[in-house]
């Protein structure tokens, strides 16, 4: 019988840690998450069931440390040549169990990319924040505070908007930034965040890229308020809420990379966001394959396992075909991020645009396939007990975030067709 490892990956590319960490995470998934995940939805507010799984993965297994330099207690992934490839595998394995956990885990690295990755490693900030993540066996969460009430994903539509709609401000007062603003929906907010990376402007309304600022704000600073989590269609493990910054003071050097570079490297954050999204989709779809394999072997129609019905088998083929392709594309994109010498900078418009294209492809296919899989399973498709509707709800969220499909289309068209006004 086939297993999820039969889906193609580019075998020339696998990172040195791929196999080792893949196995560890898979064990964690099978033991700590999959047996309990059917009860996660009702745990969306309290995280009584979910928190231990986080602690195990991020704290005890230590995976929240991977980006930091080795001498600071990390594993040095940020300056390796396989950051993206290794991340893809990790995210995929986590998402196979629960993409909500995968998001919360992955997003913890999101602001850290700004300071942990070569060539823009910010040693001083690494030193300052590494202990928070490396000296604990509890899960510690970071968040990117981007979206604002007005305009939604406009902030991510960087090429046209150029940060001009950002209403969260940072004003320099001596050696300190004073941050003011209201963000909503960040993954890992809703009360769980320890460290925010805040997208803000030093000059509201400006399209000068030097005014775009990415500033770290520890969540325990006076003036930071996190609202409770919103209730949403899925991904109970990922808490999202409002965050208010009310005259929050942080040291001047908490700005990640400085004028111009904040904007530039924030695009790298977008690229990794798209890579992560594809990994979540891929991981979920691998688990969907496992579920389908089990279900269609056991269910009988006309005296045969349902998988032997040619028309049903054709839908199953459509689904695994897409899993194959999504996985190959995700791994290819990881490689593109890992080899800027061959493919261009991670923050280049090309790499950003291609990531958007792959991401919306993967999400569209997954949403459609999960819908078809549920339909094929008839009334069982809507049972919590079959775990398929869970993935269906979760993956829809992946499709909608980061500006959703339309922003992906616009950025893809802009790069390939040199559009000016989209």
């Amino acid at each position: 019988m086939r297993s999820i490892d039969d889906f193609t990956r580019p075998r020339e590319f696998l990172s040195p840690i791929d196999d080792y960490f893949g196995k560890i995470v898979r064990q964690w998934a099978d033991k700590e998450v999959i047996p309990y995940r059917q009860r996660y939805d009702e745990d969306w507010k309290e995280h009584r069931l979910i928190e231990p799984a986080f602690d195990k993965l991020m704290g005890e297994l230590g995976l929240q440390r991977v980006l930091f330099p080795e001498d600071l207690g990390g594993w040095g992934l940020g300056h390796s040549h396989y950051t993206a490839s290794a991340s893809f595998r990790l995210m995929e394995e986590v998402a196979r169990a629960d993409s909500g956990i995968a998001v919360a885990f992955g997003v913890t690295f999101w602001p850290l990319i700004m300071i942990c990755n070569e060539p823009h490693l910010n040693r001083r900030l690494c030193e300052e924040f590494a202990p928070l993540f490396c000296n604990t066996d509890k899960a510690v969460f970071a968040a990117n505070a981007m979206t604002e009430p007005q305009g939604g994903a406009d902030i991510e539509n960087m090429d046209v908007i150029k940060g001009s709609t950002i209403e969260t401000t940072a004003v320099l007062d001596g050696d300190e930034w004073i941050v003011n603003g209201h963000k909503l929906w960040p993954t890992n907010s809703g009360g769980v965040c320890s460290l925010f990376g805040v997208v803000c402007t030093t000059n509201p309304g400006s399209k000068d890229l030097n005014d775009f600022a990415f500033i770290f704000v520890p969540a325990d600073k006076p003036g930071v308020t996190q609202g409770g989590p919103y209730q949403k269609a899925g991904m109970a493990a990922d808490k999202n809420g409002d965050v208010w910054f009310d005259h929050v003071r942080v040291p001047k050097h908490y700005r990640a990379c400085g004028p111009g570079d904040d904007y530039k490297y924030f695009k790298e954050v977008i690229s990794f966001g798209n890579l992560g999204s594809i990994a979540f989709v891929s991981g979920v779809m691998l688990n969907v394959f496992e579920i389908l394999q089990d279900y269609f072997n056991k269910s009988y129609f006309q005296g045969q396992p349902l998988k032997e019905h040619d028309a049903v088998a054709a839908v199953l083929a459509d689904i695994v075909k897409d899993v194959e392709i999504i996985r190959i594309i995700g791994n290819q994109y990881a490689r593109m991020l890992d080899r800027p010498d061959l493919y261009g900078f991670r923050w280049s418009d090309e790499i950003v645009a291609k990531g958007r294209a792959y991401k919306y492809f993967a999400c569209d296919r997954a949403v459609e396939n999960l819908g078809r899989a549920m339909n094929l399973m008839e009334s069982r498709g809507s049972d919590r007990a079959c775990d398929i509707e869970k993935h269906w709800r979760d993956i829809k969220i992946v499709q909608l975030w980061m500006g959703g499909k339309q922003l992906c289309q616009v950025e893809t068209a802009r790069w390939y067709f040199d559009c000016k006004t989209l």
Partner: protein, 414 residues
């Protein structure tokens, strides 16, 4: 605002009483559902049951299709198709789950109350539950569905799927047994089940009415599912449940097809009605949300407008198809049916189109709304979960298509 007028439909046969009913249901939706939803979310006890009580008893939905001399409103003829569709649109608009339960309950009752299979004795005996009761009476159906393991040895198979239960005659009684059957809805609180059985030595399925309080009927623990909170479902087991022989509603595929045709009509209407709410949500979003900086309304951006257009387009077509189906029910003589054809195939075709396009349409709506699409408080995502759940309960498209092939191509072996 409802979408009564924006999406055209033929209303030439609409009676004044239909319009009154629509108005009543519209009011019911506002006061009993919409106004309380922000606070109560999907609370079964506090929101949904009280709303259903109002609908079934106070608005008298559960009396609608019963004969007047049984205490009903007397809409027990095929011409009621239009009234049913208009009513279920409004109910589905308010809550898919309540719409779904209404649809199944009406379907079950219609199977022995409507002229195509009028069972007078059973009708008289059952009428008080619907026409004289001050509590709601939910009906449910138990139809064939997949179970794990090779069923061929255990249960007779109808069209490839195992029949959920077996029945045998015992004097003037029917004795029924079946294990862990999943009803379409409300396994926990339905008062009547229509159970499709293998009736002794016969290959043809039989529908038998089983009261929910029958000795030997065992209900399981409530299951958790993705939507339709109003339907508290569970598996039921019938351990040699005995019912009067008169509870045999029908025996044979013809009546089953007729009943399913009505079911498909009802579900089509619930789905179209739910899409009206989806439309209202995206309409408001388009009117108020800005994109790419201040002053640029969402509905004025060509890309978002183009997706929004598809949403309206699909709802319009679905409603036109729904009322084409209504016409086929209420005026079959006006259509060029081949002799002997029932409405099963067009009904299956239309309900499949409508429920599949509803999935696509809500998916697109969610895409446009980003986080608001999946946040509970915007109410969109519940329609998404609910309508998908309804859709999967119709059976898989792949297997349903086999029935279409039998019709179009006279395939024999599928």
């Amino acid at each position: 605002m409802d979408r009564f007028n924006l999406f055209p439909f033929p209303n030439d046969s609409t009676e004044y009483s239909d319009l009154l009913l629509v108005q009543t249901l519209h009011r019911w939706a506002e006061t009993e559902v919409f106004s309380k939803r922000l606070e109560l979310r999907e609370d079964y006890e506090k929101l949904l049951m009280p709303a259903m009580q109002k609908l079934f008893v106070d608005v008298e939905l559960q009396k609608m299709i019963w004969p007047e001399d049984c205490g009903g409103i007397g809409l027990n003829k095929r011409e009621v198709a239009r009234t049913l569709a208009m009513a279920l649109e409004q109910i589905g608009r308010a809550d898919c789950g309540i719409g779904y339960i209404s649809a199944v309950t009406l379907t079950l009752c219609s199977s022995f109350v409507f002229d195509y299979n009028f069972k007078e004795e059973l009708c008289r005996r059952s009428a008080p539950l619907f026409c004289r009761a001050d509590h709601i009476t939910i009906g449910s159906l138990v139809l064939p569905s997949f179970k794990e393991g090779d069923p061929s040895e255990k249960a007779p198979v109808f069209r490839g799927k195992p029949l959920p239960a077996r029945a045998r005659r015992d004097g003037d009684k029917l004795v029924i047994s079946g294990e862990k059957m999943r009803p379409l809805n409300s396994g926990c609180d339905a008062l009547l089940f229509g159970v499709l059985c293998a009736l002794e030595d016969s290959d043809e399925p039989a529908l038998i009415l089983v009261p929910g309080d029958s000795p030997g009927l065992i209900r399981g623990e409530p299951i958790i599912k993705t939507g339709l909170t109003a339907s508290k479902n569970t598996d039921i087991t019938l351990a040699d449940v005995s019912v009067p022989a008169g509870n045999l509603i029908f025996h044979g595929e013809d009546c089953l097809r007729r009943m399913l045709s009505w079911f498909y009509l009802n579900i089509s209407a619930v789905t179209v009605g739910s899409l009206f709410t989806v439309f209202e949500i995206i309409k408001e979003w388009g009117d108020t949300r800005v994109i790419k900086g201040k002053g640029n309304l969402f509905k004025e951006n060509p890309l978002t407008a183009s997706v929004m257009a598809e949403i309206g387009h699909e709802i319009m077509l679905s409603r036109l198809l729904l009322y084409q189906l209504v016409a086929m029910f209420s005026r079959p003589e006006d259509f060029n049916h081949r002799e002997g054809d029932d409405l099963y195939v067009p009904a299956l075709s239309i309900v499949s189109h409508i429920t599949q396009n509803a999935e696509k349409t809500i998916n697109q709506t969610m895409e446009l709304m980003g986080s608001a699409g999946y946040a509970t408080e915007w109410n969109l995502e519940r329609y998404w979960r609910d309508l998908k759940t309804i859709q999967v309960h119709l059976g898989s498209w792949e297997l349903n298509k086999m029935a279409l092939s039998r019709y179009f191509y006279e395939s024999q072996s599928l």
